[in-house]
Structures are given as structure tokens and as C-alpha cells.
Symmetry: C2
Subunit: 424 residues, 2 copies
């Protein structure tokens, strides 16, 4: 197993800037599993700079569960996931949240990458080929059964068996709808926002996203400019990145209502289930979305139970990887809430499209109101980068989870000794 601290100096150009994260350096705590057969499994957790080394150290601490482990097939991957998240001593540091959970995500995802490569399939297709029983056995049902039982999950998956082959063919032919956040970073001036918003529409996107929450008058001006640039037919979501308290979220969002926001994302603390529920109730019909910082399936369960969200934005590496995201997809389907994954950062687009495509083939069986976030940064560092055509993700075709970074990038951006960091 190799662990690499990879950081990209994105703060130099204000790419990724928002109301809570003014100067992120998009980073990955990156892991490579080396299997006996010579194959590799790649995985990572995404961070925005400082503390990426702590995640790398946490991955090292968890390595005892991975080295020598069997990762062949969903049963083995389910066992590995449970061991990684239930070490009785390490669990004290969470449980199932923060640094240790991010580290578990990197390892779980690397193990699935390896398993899918061995099967010779892209992960979404590998998952789509598993039986309902195999999927259900991948999930840790602890703390979920008051909302969804394994039996009810089996029924969901069995129902979706019908038409699956057609949906797989459809994904391979047409891909999956995307929206883009690239025009809307808070550090961009109005002219750049307008230009990028127009380009997005010209490229086929039907939804874009703007960052808001630092200054209301700035937000109104930028939103107005973006709206008049793209016209009324394009969905514009806004994203406050946790900036507000409950009352402020309601007031601020209402002050943007005239520009027709499609959703308000992360209006307040990601921990605040009841706050999101209150905001949603008071803002209806404006929709509420959250998830990129929601730390585990128990929190998603409650957001759904409380009717707190209109869109569930899972993250590929915030929760403990593929296994925990399978639980989240099943919960979302059970509660009838569309999953619109968080992406961007580094490599998150590459990962989440596999999960949404599996959701379509095998869980929700619909793309209605579902879109995957897309941000056009840092894809050049991946060996099988995301391909967008006409505002849609193309289906990955390479075996694995698309998590592999190029060797040159791993060396150049390794922190703190890689050439990109030494020279600055």
C-alpha cells in the first residue's frame, strides 16, 4: 500500500472559492493498493489543503485492516468496510465522521476500484451486475432500520431488476445529465460569471450553479447578471456553503427569489437536520439541497425522515465510500428524494458518476430531476478523466472506479516535496 499527499495550488487562481472556503488548495489523500496479481486499486479522499497529511496518517493507521484482506466480491468488500469503520478503539474518534471516516472512504473506494478492475468492468457496471442480495449485504444496517430495513431494500432492488438491461444500454448510449458550477465561484468578477454562464449554455448545460452568501448586494447583482445572460429556461442553483443561521438563510434566499433559484444548497450547518427542515418549510416552493458535508448514513437518514431536503447531494469520499453510498442511494429511493451528487474538487466527478449511473440502472430507475455536478478543473491529472458531451457525463468504459491519477501528477504535486511545491 502506498499513501501520497497530493495537493494542487488552486488557491492561486481562486478556483473553488466560496463563502466559507476563500482559498482552497484542492488535495487528495491518495492510496494505492497493490494486489498479489499485480493489479492496483486506487482511491482517495478529497480535502482542500491543510490537514491532508492528517488524512494520510489516518489511512496509514487503518492499513492493518486492508493489507492482506480479501477484496474479491461484494461480501468481502462489505466485511472490509465494516472492519474499517468499527475498530472499537478508532471508533471513539468519530464514530463514523471526520478524519477517520474520510480515511476509510479512500480505502473502501480503492478496494472497489481493485475489485472492478479484476472484473474488467467500470464500477457502475460492476455494481449493476450484482444481485439485490449482494448489494444489501454490502450495507451496514446498524442505525438504519427505523427508516429502512434490509427486506425493504431488497424489494426496491428487485423491482429495479426489470428494465435494467435497457437502462444500462441507455447509459452507455446517452450518458447522464450534468450541471456545472464552473461559472459561479465567488472569487470571479461579474464579467467572468456572465461569460462562463453563456458558454455553459452553449455547451448544452441546462443547469448552472452560483456561489452566494458573502454579500447580499453582490449576490443579487451577480444572480441578475447570470439570469439575464442565460434566460428563464435554464435552472440556476445557488450555494451558500453553510454560511447562514436559520433565519438568515430564509431571509437571504427570499431576497434572491425574484431571480428564480432552482435550489438553495447548504444554507446552514450540515449537521443541522432540524434547521434544514425549518428552512425548507419556510422557503417552499424554493427547494433545499445538501449533502457534501453530511458525514454518514445516519445523518442522511434523518434529513430524509425530517423532510429536510428536496435533493440529496451525496459525496463519493465524505462517507465511507461505495458501501455507505449504497445505503444512501437506497434511503433516497425509499423516501423519493432525487440524488444529485456533489462533485468538483479533484476527482470527485470521476467517482460520483459511477454512483449515479448505478442509481439509474439498479435503484431509482429514473433520471427525473437528477443531475451530477460538474466542474472543469484538474481532470487532466486522471488516467480515465470524465468526459462531458452536450451537458452530459459519458459513461466510463475503463475497468475500475476512474480514481487513478497519472504518475507524473502524483510526483509533481506531492506535498511538500514535489516540484510544484518546492518551487513556490
Amino acid at each position: 500500500m502506498d499513501v501520497i499527499d497530493v495537493r494542487f495550488p488552486t488557491s492561486r487562481s481562486l478556483d473553488g472559492s466560496d463563502a466559507m472556503n476563500p482559498d482552497p488548495d484542492y488535495s487528495a489523500a491518495y492510496v494505492v493498493l497493490h494486489a498479489d496479481d499485480g493489479r492496483e486499486g486506487h482511491g482517495f479522499t478529497f480535502t482542500i489543503g491543510r490537514g491532508n497529511d492528517i488524512c494520510c496518517a489516518a489511512i496509514e493507521t487503518l492499513s492493518e485492516y486492508v493489507i492482506g484482506a480479501d477484496v474479491d466480491g461484494p461480501a468481502a468488500l462489505g466485511d472490509l468496510y465494516r472492519r474499517l469503520t468499527h475498530d472499537s478503539q478508532i471508533r471513539w474518534l468519530g464514530p463514523e465522521k471526520g478524519v477517520m471516516h474520510l480515511a476509510a472512504a479512500a480505502l473502501v473506494n480503492a478496494a472497489w476500484d481493485l475489485a472492478a478492475r479484476r472484473a474488467g468492468l467500470p464500477l457502475w457496471k460492476y455494481l449493476s451486475g450484482l444481485t439485490p442480495e449482494e448489494i444489501v449485504a454490502c450495507v451496514d444496517w446498524r442505525y438504519l432500520t427505523d427508516a429502512l430495513t434490509p427486506e425493504a431494500a431488497l424489494a426496491i432492488l428487485r423491482e429495479a431488476e426489470e428494465g435494467k438491461a435497457e437502462r444500462i444500454a441507455e447509459i452507455e448510449r446517452d450518458g447522464y445529465p450534468a450541471y456545472t458550477t464552473s461559472p459561479g465561484w465567488l472569487g470571479y468578477d461579474d464579467e467572468k460569471v456572465v461569460r462562463l454562464a453563456r458558454e455553459a449554455v452553449a455547451e448544452g448545460y441546462t443547469q448552472i450553479k452560483l456561489k452566494v452568501g458573502a454579500d447580499l448586494e453582490d449576490d443579487r447583482r451577480r444572480f441578475a447578471a447570470a439570469r439575464s445572460a442565460v434566460g428563464p429556461g435554464i435552472r440556476i442553483a445557488v450555494d451558500a456553503n453553510q454560511r447562514w443561521d436559520v433565519d438568515q438563510a430564509v431571509e437571504w434566499t427570499k431576497a434572491l427569489a425574484e431571480f428564480d433559484p432552482w435550489w438553495i444548497e447548504e444554507p446552514t450547518s450540515p449537521d443541522d437536520v432540524l434547521g434544514h427542515a425549518a428552512i425548507r418549510k419556510r422557503l417552499a416552493p424554493i427547494k433545499v439541497a445538501t449533502g457534501e458535508h453530511v458525514h454518514n448514513r445516519v445523518m442522511f437518514k434523518q434529513l430524509l425522515q425530517a423532510g429536510a431536503i428536496d435533493f440529496l447531494q451525496l459525496d463519493a469520499a465524505r462517507v465511507a465510500g461505495v458501501n455507505e453510498n449504497l445505503a444512501i442511494l437506497l434511503l433516497a429511493k425509499h423516501f423519493g428524494v432525487p440524488v444529485c451528487p456533489h462533485a468538483g474538487g479533484v476527482g470527485l466527478c470521476e467517482l460520483v458518476c459511477h454512483l449515479s449511473m448505478f442509481d439509474y440502472t439498479s435503484v431509482s430507475a429514473t433520471m427525473d430531476d437528477r443531475v451530477i455536478e460538474y466542474v472543469d478543473h484538474l481532470h487532466e491529472h486522471f488516467t480515465a478523466p470524465t468526459v462531458i458531451e452536450n451537458g452530459r457525463y459519458r459513461a466510463p468504459t475503463e475497468p475500475g472506479f476512474s480514481a487513478e491519477m497519472k504518475r507524473d501528477s502524483l510526483i509533481r504535486f506531492s506535498y511538500p516535496h514535489g516540484p510544484e511545491w518546492r518551487s513556490n
Copy 2:
């Protein structure tokens, strides 16, 4: 600043064993701040073994905010706390949860220790001498104002000004009530449970606690034995350490009801606000307690808003130290829920009694149904250890937060190179 990984091999005797933590090695990620005036500030976060090194590394990462910082007075301590919890890049790893938050707790508590030492006062008395305005300025109000505003908090604190001098004198004379968990560890046999329960009553305790949740028949037998050993007049709390799902928590606790449990503690995931609310509703009049794993003030806010708990069990070093616990004490008072801190581990008794005593002098102004957990392990390693007399915590008199471990203990149990670990 020094950071020391201290671990005690408690797993060898099954002290501290429960349904989720079969073999803890009580540990501290320990920090010493060295001030210009030659004084020191001591703080730590408690863990149960593996991963303690990750917390130490996280403390090192946060050191840039502490080294050179002003810690004189509550305003400076409020600024330090906010800087430690709001680094825009590190915040991504939480926010305000898990390893990075545990690390912030150690540093915040060390800074308060230093400030109280400089004032020549034990922390509880130093806090009791601050004005309502100073206390309110120590709190990070973000995400709280839908439940409690700074103005409402000020009103609480001003009301408690009356009679404060008398309550301080009372604390100094009579101390604060304790309960003991020492009889109830899951790894102990029935004979030991009965013997220790009888001893506890003989020592003046009016409440003890038993660990439950691994095996129902074992629980019933042990509970019956303990109940007949102590009689009906002693409160016996039971603690499941997060073992159950919602339905199971209700069924299992009902199966123990005939032995008259005073509260059921941690019946399910500490993240599950709605789950606790459902359990409390279905179990009434049996009371529900939680808090040792509740990771921040936003979660406590919701537990209170949802009516999910009868007792709030704050932890001195799970949330970000004194500052965040001030918010939690104010929230608990606002919602009328008694605070009964989590303690035990290593050094938690030493810390939490300061917070409960301040709660009595300056916030809730009552001890009704309030007790501080006590476990008689590892106090011998502290320079100003907890003193219990007749089932009550004596008021600490030494300046500071009572967090300082003896130099000999720090050396002997430092991990992995200390003599206690090298020889095993």
C-alpha cells in the same frame, strides 16, 4: 508547545469495557503550552487507544494558531477558539467534528488552564468571576440563534448573578454530587459487580451505573443482582454505548424496566437526534441520556429542540473545550434539561467538575437531578486529582483546569517508546 501521546494499558484488566468498546486503552493526546512568563497550560483530548497519534498530529497541525497567541482573558480565548475551529481548509475535515475537533479541544482547554493559572484561580471559580457579557463573547453563536440568541443567553446569566456568591461558598463547602460507573463495566463478573455496588453505596453514592447491551439475559441477571444489592432507594442508570437501533433500544430497555433504570444512556447512534426522540417518547417515563459522543453544539441544540433527552451528558474534550461547553450549558439551561457530564476515561473527572460547578454558580443555579459521573481509574497520574468525599466531588482549589499529569506518568506511559509500552 509539547505534544505527548500518552496511553494507559487499561485493556489488560477490562476496566472500561462496554458493549461497543471491549478493550479500551485509555489514552490522552496531551499538550503543554509554554508561556513567556514561565507558566504552563495543560490540556488533552481523551481517546481509547489506536488513533491517539492521529489526534497528536492534528494538534501539531493546529499549533500555528496557538503559538504566539494571546490567551489573557475571555475575549482572547474566544478569538483563539474561533480561529482553531474555523481554519477554512481544516474545516473541510469536519466541520467541527472528529479528530480535528478533538485536537481543538485539547488546545482550547490548555489555553483556559493557562489563563486560570495566571488568575490564580481554579477554572470553575475563574469562570464564575467573568461577567455575563464576557461569557457570551466566548461562544460561537453561528448555527445556534434559531434556538438561543446571545441576548437570551445574557438574560440567563444576569438572572444567575443573584445568589452567586452564596453558591460559590456552598460549592467550596459541600462540593457537587457524583455517581459512579466503577461497579458496572461489562467485563466484570456478577460477584464483582455486586461487591463494587455495595461499596459504592457504603461510600455515600446515591446513583450507580451499569453497562448493558451485549446480551439481554446477562443484563437482566446483573441488573437484578445489583438492584437487590443496593435496594430500591439507589438510582441505577444503564448505558448501552450506542449498541442498538431504535426498535431494539425500546424493546431491550423495556425488558430491563422491572429493575427500575434511572436512565438509559446512549441507546443508539449519537448522531441520531430523531432516533433518540423516538426512543424517549416510547420509553417514557424511563429517561434518556446522551452526550459523550455528541460532537458539537449544533447536535446538542437539536437534541434539545427535538425533546430527545432528559439528561445532557457533556464531555470536556469531545466538543471544542471550554468555549463550546459554555454554549452547551446555556442551551441546556434554556431548554430546562439537567447537565450530568460524562467522565471517567483519563482525566475527564478532573475536567468536568469545573464545568458543572460553574453551571451551578452561574448558569442553572441548581443541583436538582444533577450528578457528575465518577470512575476511580488513573487519578494517581494527575498533580491535582479529583477528590470524592461521601459521594460528592470536592471543589478543586489549585489554580487551573486540573489537567496536569505528573511528569513521571507522562514519561512512563508515553507511546510507543515509554517504559510501560516497551516492556510489553
